[in-house]
Amino acid sequence: MSIGSRICVLLLLAASLGASAEAKQLAVIVDKTNNTGGLSANDLAKVFKFDSHKWPDGRPVILVLRDPSTPEMQTAIQKLYHMQAEEFKALLAAHASGVIVVRSEDELLKSVESIPGAVGLVDVYSINGRVNVLKVDGKLPLEQGYFLKGN
């Protein structure tokens, strides 16, 4: 048995643990100097669709994104952009100066950490202490009803 099964029995739990699906949740991350605590889902969509260009402190918004084919971006395209992949690529091409496309999660985290005004999306289990995580509609990732969730 795994240690999980053993704990299950000791806890008077008959149901199996780890019953939920392995859902992916995206954290919206910004650099540590960004004081924005959270955004509504609508405002977040505006940021990611290049409709909002500046943070409340006046700094320009720089999007840091993974390649559109990654699972993270698939969730983002579905939840934030409501677009087909081709439309999304065209949008990025039209706003090339406001976006950095990176090849890995590591690169994304390092870019957001080091570029003032940067904002990115990353699997919540990859976040580190060198970035801030924004609330969306008042909720952080892994809270009940969090917006940026997909399988």
Binding site: M1, S2, I3, G4, S5, R6, I7, V9, L10, L11, L12, L13, A14, A15, S16, L17, G18, A19, S20, A21, E22, A23, A27, V124, Y125, S126, I127, N128, G129, V133, L140, P141, L142, E143, Q144, N151
Partner: protein, 499 residues
């Protein structure tokens, strides 16, 4: 006094007389341990070692001795928070860990931040601290093992957990439990080839322990290799006849093989030797064998007996579970709803069982009520029960069991209302539950996701978990699939050979 204890005492006195400085311990791929007490250090190491061999009670006792020997030992306190199964102890130890955090080393502080935040459902700072620790100490095998364990058990992230266990194996190929846990992760992902390779290595590393054989058996059972499962459970019992989980495994395997009288015989042996909690838990499994053979009157009798047994021991959540299990297979809706009301009433009485466990069972009761109401087309009851469940979920945001119950129920309501995309979203959050799996297949089909429906149908047909949900759903589902296959291609009908 025995010689060995005397030696330890003399050593402790000698060290104390020299005036103790912070006692730090580093190994090339181990964890830095800060305690002023060599005894605490020794107990701690032994405790961790025991936990890694799944000797949970022994491990916990050693960890308790460690913090008794040095109450300022912050890492010891946080390990107890993490491993203890007693919610009161978890909270008390977490507070002690935070109070003594200042005396800990840099790595220990990150571990405390990770686990103390996690125990309060503050997931973001918890994950941040865990990842900082993993990045700063990439060679620490214990840290990676714990991270894998947390990701798998607390967070249901088996893919990420696998990476942690693989890292442990790379750091120390003889770290037995890493092979064991990795095997379970692979099995959960459906990669049985890798799961069996890893579990085989586990059995080779600790050939004199029963658990590797028990794990081998359990994975064989999950893969539908029942004869192999029986062989390995017996090998486990040969190594240690008191390893009761393997005796239970024999019962589970026979139940899944369809040999219910034999399953009950094996369960009876397990129940005889189990602890009071195990007796009740395993009696629930035994009662479910009557459901598997379609003898519902005998099932009622057996579940009622379990409920009485649980009541006598004040295991209220298990008493309620017995009534809920009965409600699930009742053909008459009024009888089913009565049983659910009985279960709910039990949970609202005054009990010594931790509230979290009562809430989890209440969520399951409410979910079952929603499902029954949906089946009866009783929209009002479905809506009010779902609302009750939603309130419970909101108040217990960090509880995965309540959340999955809520999604299972919300999915059932959405599916009945024809909101297929919504139903898919909800059921996907409860994808390990056989009832939700069956509904998700339908939701996928209605939502135009035929590929997903086909994959999930194959998974459900191959589900070999000894749970009441499986007993109610899977045998019928297999029959239905076989009949459908026969319609489209008679050569595939497994019943053909009897004609």
């Amino acid at each position: 006094m025995k010689m060995r204890s005397l030696k330890v005492s003399i050593l402790a006195v000698l060290l104390a007389s020299f005036g103790l400085r912070a006692f730090a311990h580093d190994t090339p791929n181990g964890m830095h341990i800060s305690t002023k007490s060599p005894q605490a250090h020794a107990f701690f190491e032994k405790g961790v070692q025991k936990m890694e061999m799944l000797h949970t009670e022994d491990g916990l006792n050693n960890l308790r001795s460690a913090v008794q020997a040095d109450p300022q030992f912050a890492l010891g306190h946080i390990f107890l928070t993490f491993f203890s199964q007693d919610p009161t102890e978890q909270v008390a130890e977490r507070e002690k860990a935070l109070a003594t955090r200042a005396s800990a080393g840099a790595e220990e502080k990150l571990i405390i931040d990770w686990l103390a935040n996690a125990s309060q459902a503050r997931w973001i700072p918890a994950i941040q601290a865990m990842n900082e620790a993993l990045a700063a100490y990439p060679q620490d095998k214990h840290l990676h093992w714990m991270a894998g364990w947390w990701l798998q058990l607390d967070q249901n992230q088996s893919t990420r957990a696998t990476a942690m266990f693989e890292q442990v194996i790379q750091l120390d190929p003889k770290f037995a439990d890493a092979w064991n846990e990795a095997a379970y992760c692979y099995a959960k992902q459906g990669n049985f080839e890798k799961a069996f390779a890893d579990i085989k290595r586990y059995t080779e590393l600790v050939p004199n322990e029963p658990n590797p054989q028990d794990s081998f058996a359990e994975l064989s059972r999950m893969a539908g290799r029942f004869e192999e499962a029986l062989t390995h459970y017996r090998m486990s019992l040969k190594i240690d006849p008191t390893f009761h989980e393997s005796q239970l495994g024999l019962g589970d395997t026979y139940a899944l093989m369809g040999q219910q009288p034999r399953a009950r015989e094996e369960y009876a042996k397990a129940i005889e030797t189990g602890s009071p909690v195990q007796k009740v838990l395993w009696s629930l499994q035994s009662a479910a064998t009557y459901v598997r053979e379609g003898d519902l009157a005998a099932a009622d009798k057996a579940f009622n007996a379990v409920a009485e047994q649980a009541h006598a021991k004040d295991f209220a959540n298990l008493e309620a579970e017995a009534y809920r299990s009965m409600s699930m297979y009742q053909l008459d809706s009024a009888a089913s709803l009565n049983l659910l009301a009985k279960a709910e009433a039990v949970l609202h009485e005054d009990h010594k069982v931790p509230q979290a466990l009562l809430n989890e069972e209440l969520a399951s009761v409410l979910r079952t009520r929603v499902e029954r109401a949906v089946a009866d087309n009783n929209k009002e009851l479905a809506a009010t029960s779902l609302k009750q469940l939603q309130t419970l979920a909101d108040a217990n945001g960090a509880d995965g069991i309540i959340e999955t119950a809520m999604h299972g129920a919300a999915g059932a309501v959405a599916l009945a209302a024809g909101n297929y995309a919504d139903a898919v979203n909800h059921f996907e959050e409860d994808e390990a539950n056989a009832i939700s799996m069956r509904s998700l297949i339908l939701a996928y089909e209605k939502n135009g996701q035929q590929g997903n429906a086909t994959r999930l149908a194959a998974k459900l047909a191959a589900l070999n978990e000894p749970l009441i949900e499986q007993a109610i759903v899977v045998p019928e589902f297999r029959k239905h699939r076989a009949a459908l296959a026969a319609k489209t291609n008679p050569a595939l009908d497994p019943r053909g050979k009897y004609r």
